[in-house]
Amino acid sequence: MGVAAALVTMSALILLTGVLLVEAREVLDWRFFLDPPSRVAAEGGVGPAVAGSLWLTFLVAAIAVPLGVGTAVYLAEYAPPTRLVKAVESVLTNLAGVPSVVYGIAGLALFVRGLGLGPSILAGALTLTALTVPLVVVNCRKALQAVPDEFRWAAFGLGASRWQVVRDQVLPAAAPALLAGCCAALLRAVGAAAPLLMLGAVSFTTFAPGSPNDPLTALPTQIFAWAARPREGFLALAAGASVALLLLMAAMHLVLFAHRRRQKGTWS
C-alpha cells in the first residue's frame, strides 16, 4: 500500500519533469541559463530571472530564518503559556495559511508604495519575508516541541540555565527538523509568483539584477509571463524556466539532504 503510494508520487514527479524537459528541449542549453529574455523566442534566456530568484532566496533566508527561528525558540522555550502568547501563536498559524497573493497586495501598499521602494528586488524580498516568517515559526515551533521534555529536564537537573539547555541540548536535537522547516518555508517563497506579480515584477529586462535596488525579476514570474504569450516558441521558454526553477529548488533540497545525512543517528 505504502509502496504503491510512493510509486504513484514518484511517477508523478518523473512525468512532470519529463514533460517539462520535452517541452523545453529546444531552448535548454548553457546559454539559456545566462542570457536575458529576448523578443525573439529562440534567443531568450533566464539569466536575469535566475539572478533575481537567487537574490530573493538569499535575502529572504537572511531575514526570515533568524527572525523566524528566534521567534519559534522564544515561543517554544521561553514564553510562559499566557493568553497573549497563545493569541500570538494562533495569529502566526493563521498567517502561515494566508494565500500568497494577499501578501502581494500588502507588499504593494507597504513596501512598493509606502516605503517607496518601487518594484525592486528589495520590495519583493520583504514581501516574501512577510510570507515566509510565519511558516518558519510554525515549522520550527513544531520541531522544538518534538524534542522530549525529559531532555530539557536532564539538562536543567544538571544545573544548566535555560539558554544552556536550549543551546546545548534542544537546538542540536532539533537541528535537522529546524533545517527542514526553514527549507520548506523558503521553497514556498522561491516558488511564489502571485505576490511578485502584484508588486509589478518585470519579465523583460536585459540585465541581471546586481543589487537589491534593481528591478524585481524572478523565475516564477518569468514563467508566468512567457506562458501567457500566445506564440509557441515562448511556451518552450516557460518550460525551460520551470526546469531552472526546479533545479534551484533541487539544489536547496540537496543542502538539506547532505545535512540530514551528517546528522543521522545522533539523536533518538
Binding site: F151, G157, L158, G159, A160, T266, S268
Partner: protein, 257 residues
C-alpha cells in the same frame, strides 16, 4: 561525612506543609518532612502517590512543568529554596537529581558527564573530574575508549549508572534518585544498589522507589506516601516491622486495594 552517631541528626532538607498542584489538581498535600544529613531516605507508596513530585520539589524541578503551583516551604541547610533570590541552577547543582529515565544526551560518555561542569563554567581539563565520577559508578577502568563511546550505545544498566555519574560530577550535597532501578534486570539493579550503598558516605540521598524491599535494603529512614499525603515516616526497620498506620501496613503487605 558519615553520621553514625545515634540521636536526632540535623535536617539538611525539610518541607513544611508542602502542597503541589498541577493545573489545580493537588498531587502533594500538606507534606512536612525532614531529611537528616548524611542519611538515606526512601519514599515509598503506590503509583501516583506523589513520590516523584516530592522528589522534584526538593530541587525546584516541578516549576518547569507549566501549570505547577507550589505552596508551603522547602528549606535546604536552613535556606528557603523557593525564595525569589535563589539561583535555581545553583540549587540543582547542590541537590542533584537522577531521573527515572536515563535520558542521556546523544553524545559521548565524556560529554554527558562534563555537561554539568561546563554549564557551571568549570574551566580547564575536565578529565580528572569526569573520570572520578565514572569511577564511583564503576564505568571507569583506566581506558580512554570509554570516554569516547557513544552514551546511547551503552547497555540499560550502564546508561543508568552513567546518569548517576553525570549528577555526581557536580559533587552535590544531596542526591535525589527517582526509581533508580526501574526497568533494570536483577544484576544491573544490584550494581546500582551497591553504588547507592557506597554513596551514603558522600552525600545525603533521597530515593523514590516502588520496590519497598529496595527501601528496606538501602535506607535508614522510610516515608510512606499515599494519595499525596505523608502517612508515615520513621526508621526503616521500625516502619517495616511495626507500621503505625493502617494504610502503610496494607501497602507493605500487598493488601492495598
Amino acid at each position: 561525612m558519615v553520621m553514625s552517631a545515634p540521636g536526632p541528626a540535623l535536617p539538611v532538607l525539610s518541607t513544611e506543609r508542602l502542597t503541589v498542584r498541577f493545573d489545580g489538581r493537588a498531587v502533594l498535600k500538606d507534606v512536612s518532612i525532614e531529611i537528616p544529613l548524611g542519611r538515606v531516605v526512601s519514599i515509598i507508596g503506590p503509583a501516583g502517590s506523589g513520590k516523584t513530585t516530592l522528589l522534584r520539589s526538593f530541587n525546584r524541578m516541578n516549576e518547569l512543568i507549566p501549570g505547577a503551583k507550589t505552596a508551603g516551604t522547602v528549606h535546604f541547610q536552613g535556606v528557603d529554596l523557593y525564595d525569589a533570590d535563589i539561583d535555581q541552577a545553583e540549587v540543582r547543582r547542590r541537590i542533584g537529581m537522577v531521573f527515572q529515565k536515563a535520558t542521556l544526551f546523544p553524545k559521548s560518555v565524556f560529554d554527558n558527564v562534563a555537561f554539568g561542569l561546563r554549564a557551571k563554567g568549570v574551566e580547564g581539563d575536565l578529565h580528572g573530574l569526569v573520570e572520578e565520577a565514572l569511577t564511583v559508578v564503576g564505568l571507569w577502568s583506566g581506558g580512554a575508549e570509554v570516554l569516547d563511546a557513544r552514551a546511547l550505545d551503552l547497555t540499560a544498566g550502564e546508561q543508568r549508572r552513567l546518569s548517576i555519574a553525570r549528577a555526581l560530577a557536580l559533587k552535590p550535597d544531596c542526591l535525589l534518585l527517582d526509581e533508580p532501578t526501574a526497568a533494570l534486570d536483577p544484576a544491573a539493579s544490584a550494581k546500582v544498589e551497591s553504588i547507592i550503598h557506597a554513596l551514603r558516605h558522600e552525600c545525603t540521598i533521597v530515593l523514590a522507589t516502588s520496590d519497598h524491599t529496595q527501601a528496606g535494603r538501602l535506607s535508614d529512614l522510610t516515608a510512606y506516601l499515599d494519595s499525596g499525603r505523608l502517612m508515615e515516616y520513621g526508621a526503616t526497620q521500625e516502619l517495616f516491622t511495626n507500621p503505625r498506620n493502617e494504610r502503610t501496613e496494607s501497602y507493605l503487605t500487598g493488601r492495598l486495594p
